[in-house]
């Protein structure tokens, strides 16, 4: 028999991604004093709110997600070598950001569910202008191999 806590997880059934706590690496960045930071709204692929957080200018989205236990992966730890930190931004905020560099675009090429306003979370540094931006995590795709959508790059 499974423990109660486990069963309460189970009742959420297949909507697992986006709400799980992974190994968190707190302490990489500082949290601002409540009421003084830039607000970011993290959302899952369906647009449901995950969490609204207050952050300092200069922090990147990947570190922010880790600080707040949001399930955004950073396999290469911000080295622009994996695309697992892919996020989708609203067009009006996307346009406020400097263009992605070539290396970021190269990795975005391999990101799953790429959109016109996709960025790598590790490369987006927060500025005041981005206050109240929604950060959407892409759909965790089920069965990508079966659908034949995995990039063949070997």
């Amino acid at each position: 028999m499974l423990s109660t806590c486990f069963l309460s997880f189970a009742s959420r059934n297949s909507q697992l991604t986006g709400s799980l706590t992974l190994v968190s690496r707190h302490g990489e960045i500082q949290r601002p004093k409540p009421g003084t930071g830039v607000k970011l709204h993290f959302k899952d692929s369906k647009g449901n709110d995950i969490k609204t957080v207050e952050v300092n200018e200069g922090d990147d989205i990947l570190s922010i997600a880790h600080e707040h236990d949001i399930d955004l992966e950073g396999a290469c730890e911000g080295s622009v070598a994996c695309s697992t930190c892919h996020v989708i931004l609203p067009p009006e905020y996307y346009d406020l950001l400097p263009e992605p560099e070539d290396d970021e675009n190269d990795m975005l090429d391999m990101a799953f569910g790429l959109t016109d306003t996709s960025r790598l979370g590790c490369q987006v540094k927060i500025t005041k202008e981005l206050d109240n931006m929604a950060v959407t995590l892409p759909a965790a795709t089920r069965n990508m191999f079966v659908d034949g959508e995995g990039t063949s790059s070997h």
């Binding site: 806590c5 997880f9 190994v23 994996c82 090429d109 089920r142 070997h154």
Partner: protein
């Protein structure tokens, strides 16, 4: 009727075959999903003495950032419910595959663990064995001067299979058949000035050979055109930027997409890179490379008798075109000859039938349903609590990011099934997944096909016992556990620092000495 607690055994005691990124991402997700469940065990078996699969023995040495994913795996390994058993090769046993082993793929020192020995000791099984064999060219077979890219990769990563040192002396011209990222990895390692590689995780003996290498030109042969090339922009850009190396100009008609074809973002970025060419101008550098599109090698002959000096090999190239409907490459009837010194085949990877349990010869890997549930064969039963993930389940495609997403999906399926079986245990026992559906857990469409269930695992396996082969190999010190690996890891980094590099890899002999292990053979 409700099963009693005693009968029902632990919720999950999982044996994982393979310790590559797929296995470790599944494990990481499982253990975090089941964070509050103490009665879970995950035992990862790898035939290599170290964990991480292709991340250690595949990813190119000049891509150290890619290997950062191991930090997450190391966190997972700290979970007391996790255990790693390195140097253990799981061998298929009838009826779960029984093809005789190919001598070329055997790792002499690994302890053999038959699948049949695993089943009684575990409630669940995950197959993450990867695609460990190179796909060979149908007519151009391996020889002293024609080597699979995987052999080269194994050489520059000091893989325990101990591949021969590639002959790079007096080899001015290398031809690589296939145009994927592994081709570019190999080309980059052959063309980059060794002085720029010396700080990376590249074994000393490899650097010595690269220092003596006389490779001047690498020709990458692609069966189809630039739109179909499998390499990615990142790797192509790296090729363009190698100091002292330049790319031969590609005729511009080849780089113009047909008018009716809508190119994707990825394709147009590749075209742009190819158009722009290398940083250094062709003709100004000592070393060069080329991508020869629409060239399909059909034959390799060595110039017996006549002395061709440094170019003793001749590849016959069939000039091809793209079939507009099937997008396959078709011969145009024109052929040409390419004189070369060494041929490398880089045509992908496949599962090894002799080390892959449940191997389905028709599919050439084991067969899974969406979500990773393993089935006997095309119309066969679902093998209860047996799952597959990663390259072993889906074929050798995709990068770590896709391997990770697939792994998370499989972990989530496993947990859903666990929850479903827990629910149905209290209601009725399932006779098929339809039964599970009725048990109240919503399931994806993919499972609606009704299949019978084959039960081979032991639902009341003890949390603490180990297969007899492992129980005896442990005290004999034939097993490398995670803590042993971390000792080696630390020592490798230390030895590397002494010579100003990322790490100095150890081979099996050194590892045995360092850890005080006994040889696993008599």
């Amino acid at each position: 009727m409700r099963r009693s607690l005693v009968q029902s055994g632990p919720p999950m005691k999982l044996a994982v075959i393979g310790g590559g990124p797929s296995a470790l991402y599944v494990t990481s997700r499982l253990l975090s999903l089941l964070k509050n469940e103490p009665n879970i065990r995950v035992h990862v078996y790898d035939r290599l003495w170290s964990p991480y699969g292709l991340v250690r023995y595949g990813v190119a040495p000049d891509h150290p950032e890619v290997k950062n994913c191991t930090h997450k795996f190391d966190e997972t390994a700290k979970d007391p419910r996790f255990r790693f058993f390195g140097n253990i090769e799981v061998v298929p046993t009838p009826p779960f595959g029984s093809i005789p082993r190919l001598p070329s793929t055997r790792l002499g020192h690994a302890v053999q663990l038959p699948v049949s020995s695993i089943l009684p000791y575990y409630t669940h099984l995950l197959l993450s064995t990867g695609c460990t064999l190179p796909t060979l060219h149908p007519t151009i077979l391996p020889s002293a001067l024609c080597i699979p890219a995987l052999s080269l990769v194994h050489w520059y990563t000091s893989h325990p299979s101990n591949p021969p040192t590639p002959p790079l002396h007096q080899k001015p011209h290398v031809s690589i058949i296939g145009a994927g990222n592994v081709s570019l990895d190999v080309a980059r390692i052959l063309l980059t000035p060794p002085s720029l590689l010396s700080g990376y995780d590249l074994p000393r003996h490899v650097l010595e050979v690269l220092n003596r290498s006389t490779v001047k030109h690498v020709s990458i042969l692609a069966r189809r055109g630039p739109l179909e090339a499998a390499f990615t922009a990142k790797e192509l850009r790296e090729m363009m930027n190698i100091p002292g190396t330049s790319m031969k100009h590609i005729p511009s008609d080849l780089l113009a997409p047909p008018p009716d074809v809508k190119v994707t973002r990825q394709q147009s970025r590749i075209l742009q890179l190819l158009q722009k060419g290398s940083k250094e101008k062709y003709g100004t550098t000592e070393k060069t490379w080329s991508v020869d599109f629409f060239r399909s090698p059909t034959q390799l002959s060595s110039a017996a008798g006549e002395t061709k000096g440094d170019l003793p090999l001749t590849l016959t190239l069939s000039h091809t075109a793209l079939d507009p409907t099937t997008h396959a490459s078709v011969p145009t009837g024109i052929t040409s000859q390419l004189h070369t010194s060494l041929v490398v085949t880089s045509l992908g990877f496949q599962a090894d039938p002799s080390s892959t349990p449940f191997y389905d010869p028709q599919l050439r890997r084991f067969r899974t349903l969406p979500g990773g549930r393993v089935v006997e064969n095309q119309d066969g039963r679902v093998i209860k609590n047996v799952y597959g993930s990663g390259w072993a389940a889906g074929g050798a495609k995709g990068v770590l990011a896709s391997t990770m997403m697939d792994a998370y999906n499989v972990a989530e399926t496993m947990v859903e099934d666990l929850v479903a079986s827990d629910a149905t245990d209290s209601v009725a026992s399932p006779s098929s997944y339809i039964g599970v559906q009725n048990g109240g857990v919503e399931r994806g469409e993919e499972d609606s096909e009704k299949r019978d269930i084959l039960e081979i695992m032991n639902p009341s396996a003890s949390l603490y016992s180990l297969p007899p082969e492992i129980a005896s190999a442990l005290p004999e010190r034939k097993v490398v556990e995670f803590k042993d690996w971390k000792k080696v890891d630390g020592e490798e980094v230390k030895r590397g620092q002494e010579s100003g590099k990322e790490r100095e890899r150890m081979g099996w002999e050194e590892v045995k000495d360092f850890l005080g292990l006994k040889p696993a053979w008599k």
